[in-house]
Symmetry: C2
Subunit: 349 residues, 2 copies
DNA sequence: TGACAACATTGGAACGTTCCAATTATTAAA
DNA sequence: TTTAATAATTGGAACGTTCCAATGTTGTCA
């Protein structure tokens, strides 16, 4: 009994029915007599039967594998971990199981894990693509009729569904807020200029500068690595400009934190001497001192939406590429200077 | 060609060999002629063949599924996300693939995902168990001969391998450090007293108090939820004690942050007026103001070790339960008061 | 009683692979 | 030239399930 797993045939034998009947029970068919069903279920419990999904979806070689693949570019980043959790929630409650892999922004690894997932017969894929992922990387998937949803980052040219946050609108709101606080020279700091997300955010920046009647100065656009270190570096460059900015919207919260670090290094206090706005609203944003004013996107919600979209496409058999843009909202805290000292908005001459 | 996936038989036909030969190529057998191998590989590429692992490990019904299950109690928590990343690293480079699920500390969900993983034929399982997981929950796995490694939290009574951090030693070092700074009344704050981890840490606390020649006061042991909120609550209780403590080692960093919040609410500055030591060294610990003195455990390293152990057991076929305790180290930053005025650390009178 | 539903049950073929034993082609030794 | 050994290749059975078409039971109605 230790050797050889219990199969449907063993159950059949023990319950005195045929394997077909057992299979019917397994699938919850209404064709089988209640008495028989009870008996079969009892025997299964008794013998410790475990269903072999591999064998099952070998037969029904359709896309019924009940596995969905999730690939994430950086699980270490709380943002993406939340995304994965959101996906897991809906995927799990739909009776699917999640195949999750981390690529660490490595394209080769991404290719590997996608290949591996295909071999395992995933019936759909949700991915937050590694940087520089190209449409060609997803081509085989869609050719094979496997629904794909990209999240957070778009893959230009790929004919797949996407769930991204409203980057343009978010930055627009951030700039507008800073302008309403009286800032005239507002910088855009951080991000690699070769990404779609960067383009969208810069687009929002330009639109807002125009909408607020400010003058666009290309020198105030300072790309950098989208990390804390990148922020430190970029703010240094920003302050060295002759007509230095007095405020900045940042590519993301990590950059914004770096900007704060850089400001302090020059004896400037974020919020009082220079206004900073981030993007993402990571968990630390609220707890930081001073608390970060930022654009809040709900990564877990995005994960859920992405999963719902994918499941819809899976059950629909064949679905059109669909794009969801997830709305964002400005969360005003302290680094923008608006809530300085609870109202009395102290600002030096 | 759109319909019906490409099988080994299609390849065989197109390459003018038998399916057996193709199979041999797939397995990298040295039995097949170099010319034939090249030809077969070419045809595979041309037809876009994708290996069907499901079919494969149906046949070789051993435990060669190349899937390992990973279940984590809270992916949202950076600590466990790092753990998962560590596991993924070694698992992936060993040619396995990771089935990751999040339980959110929910035992029912944990049971579900484990069942689901079994159905998918995982060849091993790494889990950081949800609270109150019992040995009985793991029983069926080990009975089925599936290697299991628990990480971070032990499951008392279960005959499985484990990788846990050196809780006793970590707290011991923390207390010792505080004592060396002159503190005589050192509290232990946070954690649920019904967990094995709590027991181990309290054990370290008691041992250190004794070793430093201090007096043990049971009132200074203040359990609470292992969260920021729990810390706030517990420090409130601590300060209400007649002979209040002047320092505390905390169950984890979240609690420690809560303690800092609670201190500030009473106009006490962590590090200057009250010394705080955390446990885990989460990413925020370094960046916080003041930076958190804490016991550093390397979750990614633990993940890697757990994965290595599991892979060893898988390849060994049948292995003894083995326990690894991962060493920890004290990282002195600011909240303990040791680095007060470390540089020109200006601070108000 | 026979015919006809409706309900339950069933054997066998298939899914895509691996493994085994058997076969053929090639080379070396006698 | 024959024999033995080696190198390549092969057809079929098996893995555990699902599906299909077929079969066996009833019960109802004329």
């Amino acid at each position: 009994m230790a050797k050889g797993r219990v199969t449907v045939i063993d159950i059949a034998k023990a319950a005195g029915v045929s394997k077909s009947t057992v299979s019917l029970v397994l699938q919850g068919s209404s064709l089988v007599n209640d008495g028989t069903r009870a008996k079969v279920n009892a025997v299964m419990r008794e013998l410790g039967y475990v269903y072999n999904r591999g064998a099952a979806n070998l037969r029904q070689s359709g896309s019924k594998s009940k596995i969905i693949g999730v690939v994430v570019n950086d699980l270490t980043n709380g943002f993406f971990a939340e995304l994965a959790v959101g996906v897991d929630m809906v995927v799990q409650s739909a009776g699917f199981v999640q195949f999750l892999s981390n690529t660490s922004e490595n394209l080769d690894r991404q290719r590997e894990v996608i290949a591996s997932m295909r071999e395992h017969g995933i019936s759909g894929l949700i991915m937050s693509p590694a940087r520089a992922t190209e449409a060609a990387d997803l081509k085989p998937l869609v050719a094979a009729g496997i629904p794909v949803v990209v999240a957070v980052r778009n893959v230009p040219g790929a004919k797949v569904s996407s769930v991204v946050s409203d980057n343009r609108e978010g930055i627009f709101a951030g700039v507008q807020h800073l302008a309403s606080l009286g800032h005239r020279r507002i910088a855009f700091i951080g991000g690699f200029s070769d990404t779609a997300v960067f383009d969208e955010r810069i687009d929002g920046y330009r639109a807002a500068i125009a909408a607020c009647g400010l003058e666009l100065d290309e020198d105030l656009i300072l790309p950098s690595a989208p990390s804390r270190a990148g922020g430190v570096d970029a703010i240094g460059r920003a302050l060295a400009i002759a007509a230095a900015p007095t405020a900045a919207v940042c590519f993301n919260d990590a950059v914004a934190f770096g900007v704060c670090d850089g400001l302090r290094a020059q004896r400037l206090e974020p919020g009082r001497d220079f206004a900073v706005v981030g993007f993402d609203d990571v968990i630390e944003a609220k707890a930081a001192v001073p608390a970060l004013t930022t654009i809040s996107v709900d990564p877990q919600g995005m994960g859920r939406r992405a999963a719902q979209l994918l499941l819809k496409q899976i059950s629909a058999g064949r679905a059109e590429a669909e794009s969801i843009v997830s709305s964002v909202r400005l969360v005003v805290r302290e680094t923008c200077g608006a809530n300085q000292a609870g109202g009395s908005n102290r600002r030096q001459a």
